[in-house]
Amino acid sequence: MHRSQPHTTVLALSALLLSASPAISETFSWAGTTDPQTMDPHAVNAAPVLSFLNNVYEGLVRRGPDMDIQPSLATSWEALPDGAGWRFTLRQGVTYHDGSEFNADDVIFSYERAISEPSDVKSWFSSITGVERVDDYTVDFLTSAPNPLFPGSIANFMILDSGWAEANAAEMPARDAENHATRNANGTGPFVLASRDPGIETRLTPFSGWWDTAEHNLTEAVFTPIGNPATGLAALLSGEIDFISPIPLQDVTQVEERDGFKVLAGLETRVIMLGFGHDHETLKYSDETTDANPFLDPRVRLAVAQAIDVETIDRVIMRGAAEPVSQLLPAGLSGYSEENAERPAFDPDAATALLAEAGYPDGFSFGLMCPNDRYINDEAVCRAVASMLARVGIEANVNAMPVRGYWDELRADNFDMYLLGWSPGTFDAEHPFRFLAHTPTERLGTWNFGGYSSARIDELMTPILQEIDPDARQGMMDEVAGILQDDVAYVPLYTEPLIWAMKDNVEVIQRPDNFFMLRWVTVN
């Protein structure tokens, strides 16, 4: 048992006095639903991990408050002639947290690590054929065809120190097992990983040797995962934490009305949608229709879209915080198709008529797969969808499960219809097209669980990637969005809201990708 010595008490007292003065900010603690699974920037391609590690590691480029691409470890970049790739000029005088120097070797090492077999981020480099070192502070990323979007697509490609990784036997990302990089980090970013207790607490301290000027005023930052948003909200209101994301939508008014707290609400770029089993011959979870898959008929898919009243889902379940959406990405992002901005109108009678026309006047039953802890109110939305579909005569058996096993079930084709949320990582329509609309192959269409396939969309993917003229490119984007809408390949529902809650004295910048950047946090 530790006994408090007289001099420690004096120290503690003086510390109290010091912290009472406004000039010195206190420890900032924040909470989220999910703990980042790993501290390895190449092991898991998921938002909680990448968002957290962006405070510790940096990429060649980074995104600013408005998602604009800014120089980071690279000071400038230019396209090589004839679409042969991109040349990055690296920043000089940058050091890692352990003091070693950053140079071109680290970029090449990190690239090779990111495309290695156990890496989860290989798909970011699908168009890259190789990386060449020109000198200590210049590297070339080579492509087989022009790729105008490449620099903007690697903001989350984080650079590791080759010497540190080799010294600690972490040359490869550890996906299933653990290695040194799973719990330790050595980046160039504004914060140093001070201690890590997975699932319990992660502590960060500011990096005094950071190359950029710090905009934050934190002396320490502590992250605690709190799985239940209601519990997290209670922790915020009791003063235990300074910031949390998200809070339950029904509690927004309550927090706003309290003195000393505020809510920052916005829209994430994530679109919540329904997907179908396009390549399933029969329904898997139907009580009576076992010899056919009605969803193969576009009229049935359109009927589903027309039967769902997204406005009411937004009003009641999302408390008006969501935004109905017509495409696989929200309005305003690059490549969004203005031509296809119209959703199929909510019209249950037309839906019933379409079902009858398609040969299902008495409806049918099917299985709707749904996560219950991934998106805001995901299970409630599925149940509301089931209730709306029941009104036009088709009966959804909702199977809601934790996200832990959800993707495996979808990959195993265990669904007739499913709920999916998609955030375009590159903030361009090409991203959801590549992952969700292209026919599934080794590298493309990897999240197209239902196996939707359109020869014309597949054909347009390469020109979209290479086209430099914005109008011509948008023309192709419009065509893809039009095909997806005519086919009702997916039923896009709404854009997920962002609900951040914090103490009044905390100033943050809310980025639409829901990344929480400590470098913009100030505590007054």
Partner: protein, 302 residues
């Protein structure tokens, strides 16, 4: 025989002079009738997806501003009528509690009777098992059974058997009371002359237990059965509240309370309060009835 006579004379007289018991009996009858007749009297069927609409979501009770005459107690976040959900939920809660109590009664009384009548090794074994069971809190037993069945059964089977598992779990945590009471009363009765006479006459032990002893110990058992029914309802609600009970699409009272908890701080108080108040009223009335029965069968308490 004795019971019937008691009920006809003293029982009725005592009952008529005990307003708490009368009130409790009326409330219990109304609530139980409402639950049993839910499919016929509830305004809507909360299990039928096409019978409610999200447009009606989160409406307050009738007497609050914004209430809708179609929904006396308001609606939940899916637009389901709270009154219907509660009636159907209470039905499910009562079914589970009664079946569990029935299993516990049969199991406990049989073991208690046998232990008290035969004594010796059988008695020792049954009572030690009961002691062990008694050392485990009821909620822990139920969680344990649910956990084990979740572990050994495939997911789909477990989901289908959920109702059975939770019933069994409750029954297993309630049988001890019956066994101990039955054994103690049997011990007393066993040495009385009429039982000894029956033994002398060479009657079959089973016949003696069922025909001679059981009718004479049924009083205290009835009291326990009533009180345990209330415990069973509470236990089911607790388990469902903790999320190991019934799923959200076939809600019992406990599940309804768990769902309502999400709205505790957000102003939609009726989603939580309506099922909670209903549960409290139900359990209190059954307990009051149990108290009355105990007084009735135990003259020294009068």
């Amino acid at each position: 025989m004795m019971l019937a006579r008691l009920m006809q004379t003293e029982g009725v007289w005592l009952f008529s002079r005990n307003p708490a018991a009368i009130l409790a009996a009326i409330v219990t009858i109304v609530v139980v009738a409402g639950a049993v007749l839910a499919p016929w009297i509830a305004p809507t069927n909360p299990y039928d997806l096409s019978s409610f609409s999200l447009i009606d979501g989160l409406l307050p009770p009738l007497w609050e501003q914004g209430g809708d005459p179609r929904f006396l107690l308001g609606t939940d976040d899916q637009g389901r009528d709270m009154l219907s959900s509660i009636l159907y939920g209470a039905r499910l809660s009562l079914i589970i509690a009664s079946v569990a109590m029935g299993i516990a009664l049969v199991l406990g009384v049989s073991l208690g009777l046998a232990a008290g009548f035969f004594g010796g090794r059988l008695d020792a074994i049954v009572m030690r098992v009961a002691d062990v069971q008694l050392a485990l809190p009821a909620i822990l037993t139920a969680l344990l059974i649910d956990g084990i069945s979740r572990g050994i059964l495939p997911r789909e089977v477990h989901d289908d058997l959920r109702l059975a598992v939770i019933t069994l779990a409750i029954a297993l945590s309630l049988w001890v009371n019956f066994a101990r009471t039955a054994r103690a009363s049997t011990f007393v009765e066993r040495n009385k002359d009429y039982v000894q006479a029956a033994i002398m006459m060479g009657q079959h032990p089973l016949r003696i237990m069922l025909r001679h002893i059981l009718p004479n110990i049924v009083g205290p058992l009835l009291v326990i059965a009533t009180v345990d029914l209330a415990s069973a309802i509470l236990l089911e609600a607790t388990l469902s509240f903790l999320g190991v009970g019934l799923p959200a699409d076939s809600p019992s009272l406990g599940t309804l309370i768990r769902i309502g908890m999400q709205y505790l701080l957000s102003g939609e108080w009726w989603i939580l309060w309506m099922p909670t108040v209903f549960l409290v009223v139900l359990v209190v009335s059954i307990n009051l009835l149990g108290d009355f029965l105990r007084d009735l069968f135990n003259p020294s308490l009068r």
